[in-house]
């Protein structure tokens, strides 16, 4: 089997890479003649750097590091989009009097840190509602418990985070009302990335890799319960601390939270790269002053693998998924 190294933009197993876990354990990579190693990094920028420097084959990352790193020499292309919508949005407590972006006037928004892309998106959202997007509207509060504490202590009245971070907060019992960017909320700003060199030399492997991912997406839609089991096998820490029933309930909620993508676009092309929204998105980043030079879409995306990636017997995969008991798994 051909070996591929995938670099995740997160420091430890998490739901972001769930398609990889599924493709591995359901033997979808094996069926495509691939052996995939998943490695973790402290963040998307590091994963992007490593892949652009050919230290690994594929990165599973959000788009911002590439865009921001373009004028520092980062090259390569995203060939498969993994997210279905902008992972950055704003959450306010469900009982908050903030109902719209405009209500954020004069309020403080918590962000993980001032370097986070959530600041960019948050500013853009403020601007869209005619509010002044000043730095002082944001306060770094970290993620998780400290963010919750900031909300509870009223140091901030809203938090701008990303999907997985909100999923974590929700898992701990907090309830949010979410505010999305009015124009680009549907842009799935993350995917699989490879250097131009890899794209040229391992084109065939990347195509098979993409196909396995597409099959995995379908598999997840067909059998969420087994998807959760696979996730737990890859990340035993994901379920610990709870009795079986509530673990299952929370786990399914998280899977659902993470994968509306697959439900909404099940009839669409898996991994489709959205050029129109991409242009909007990077314009927004430039407008907020974080992006110096625009990156032409041709330098950013390469959708040429997708047709072949989506060419497979969907019913067979659905069947396999439904019949999956987890008694035998690939590694």
């Amino acid at each position: 089997a051909d070996k591929l190294v995938v670099q995740a933009g997160v420091p430890a197993p998490n739901t972001n890479a769930i398609a990889i876990y599924v493709a591995k354990q359901a033997c979808l990579f094996r069926d495509e003649g691939l052996q995939v190693d998943l490695q973790y990094t402290s963040g998307a920028p590091l994963a992007t750097q490593l892949v652009a420097g050919d230290k690994a084959d594929i990165a599973l990352v959000s788009y911002e590091p590439y865009l921001l790193g373009y004028d520092k020499g980062i090259r390569g292309k995203f060939f498969y989009q993994a997210f279905d919508r902008l992972i950055y949005f704003i959450g306010v407590p469900v009982d908050s009097d903030i109902k719209s972006i405009a209500d954020l006037k004069g309020r403080k928004i918590g962000v993980s840190n001032m370097g986070s892309a959530t600041v960019i998106v948050g500013k853009s959202m403020l601007r869209s509602a005619g509010l002044e997007p000043v730095d002082s509207a944001f306060l770094p509060v970290g993620i998780g418990d400290s963010a919750l504490a900031a909300l509870r202590g009223n140091q901030v009245q809203a938090v701008a985070l990303w999907d997985a971070a909100f999923a974590g907060l929700e898992r701990s019992g907090a309830k949010f009302r979410y505010l999305y960017h009015p124009e680009i909320a549907d842009f799935g700003n993350g995917g699989y990335f490879a250097s131009d060199k890899t794209l040229a030399s391992k084109r065939d492997q990347l195509e098979r890799f993409s196909r396995a991912l597409a099959k995995a997406n379908l598999f997840m839609l067909a059998n969420p319960q087994q998807t959760l089991e696979m996730y737990w096998r890859a990340n035993p820490a994901g379920k610990s601390g709870l009795d079986a029933a509530s673990a299952n309930e929370k786990g399914m909620a998280e899977i659902r939270f993470k994968s509306p993508y697959f439900e909404r676009k099940k009839d669409d092309t898996f991994g489709r790269l959205d050029e129109v929204l991409y242009e909007k998105y990077q314009k927004m980043m430039k407008e907020e002053g974080s992006l110096a030079t625009l990156v032409p879409v041709k330098s950013f995306m390469d959708g040429s693998l997708l047709p072949a990636a989506n060419r497979f017997d969907r019913d067979a995969v659905m069947q396999k998924a439904r019949a999956w008991t987890g008694s035998e798994v690939c590694n």
Partner: protein, 278 residues
């Protein structure tokens, strides 16, 4: 002025240690009592003040998680992984710290030329140079060991240097009189003489090796207590995080105690004797 008057009110001689034998049980009891009291207050505070679990979980909740992590066996592979990283990193740090420290202390040129660089590197946050670590040392256990070693070696280095510089010059004179070579002098005079300092450095070093391994895992790992912390943090599983912290602390304290036990046996001559402590 009559000095005896001024002395009259002065407190008596400095406190002296009670013999070890009679001390152990009382102090151990005290530790247990303090621990229980601390946890009791914590538990009650969390309950009465209704501190949410995500801010500070109750000791009971943490204890339950600790027990569960143990019985489910989930913690063991992580614990072992981190332990290996810590020990390997500590060993490396000790070798480098003692070696470099010796050079720095004994060769003035090395001190002036190398030490500034060591210092400069020391302040660099390891997470910031993670890409280099990964590129140089790969994705396996190596970068974690290196991180542990890099963080742990500095206190060892500094103490080795301080210990060597504090060598009683008359002992060096004696070795010169014997025409002992540098190496012999080092082995027979400076090395034993610096042991009290060295062990102080190692005591800090072993603790920092634990921290270093964790930081290394934060850069990216699927196994190890640090990676477990990240996963649980992401899930706002605060009790789960505290459970991992418990195992981490256990590791640190156990390693430190082991080291202090070794220190007591090796630095036996510094134990105050009855003559002065009676």
């Amino acid at each position: 002025m009559n000095p005896s008057q001024s002395l009259a009110g002065a407190p008596s001689a400095p406190a002296k240690k009670t013999p070890v034998r009679s001390g152990i049980s009382r102090d151990t009891l005290l530790v247990i009592a303090v621990t229980l009291a601390g946890f009791g207050i914590w538990e009650l505070a969390v309950r009465w003040l209704q501190v949410p679990q995500f801010i500070l979980p109750s000791p009971m909740a943490i204890a339950a998680r600790v027990a569960q992590d143990f019985t489910s066996g989930l913690i063991f592979p992580h614990f072992l992984q981190t332990l290996v990283e810590v020990l390997a990193g500590f060993l490396l740090a000790t070798v480098i710290g003692v070696g470099l420290g010796t050079l720095v202390a004994l060769v003035r040129t090395v001190e002036r030329v190398v030490y500034p660089f060591v210092l400069a590197l020391q302040t660099v946050p390891k997470v910031a140079v993670a890409p280099l670590f990964i590129i140089w040392f790969g994705f396996g256990i190596e970068p974690k060991i290196v991180t542990a070693a890099v963080i742990a070696f500095f206190p060892i280095l500094v103490n080795v240097i301080a210990g060597l510089k504090a060598t009683d010059p008359r002992r060096l004179l004696l070795m010169r009189a014997l025409k002992a070579g540098r190496w012999t002098t080092f082995c027979k005079v400076q090395l034993p003489g610096m042991l009290p300092y060295l062990f102080a450095g190692l005591e800090v070093g072993i603790i920092f090796a634990v921290i270093g391994a964790i930081v290394g895992e934060f850069i990216g790992a699927s196994l190890g207590l640090g990676s477990l912390v990240i996963q649980r943090q992401a899930g706002v599983d605060v009790a789960g995080v505290f459970s991992v912290l418990f195992y981490l602390s256990f590791m640190g304290v156990a390693l430190n105690l082991a080291l202090r036990w070794v220190a007591r046996r090796w630095v036996f001559w510094e134990r105050p004797t009855d003559a002065v402590s009676a």
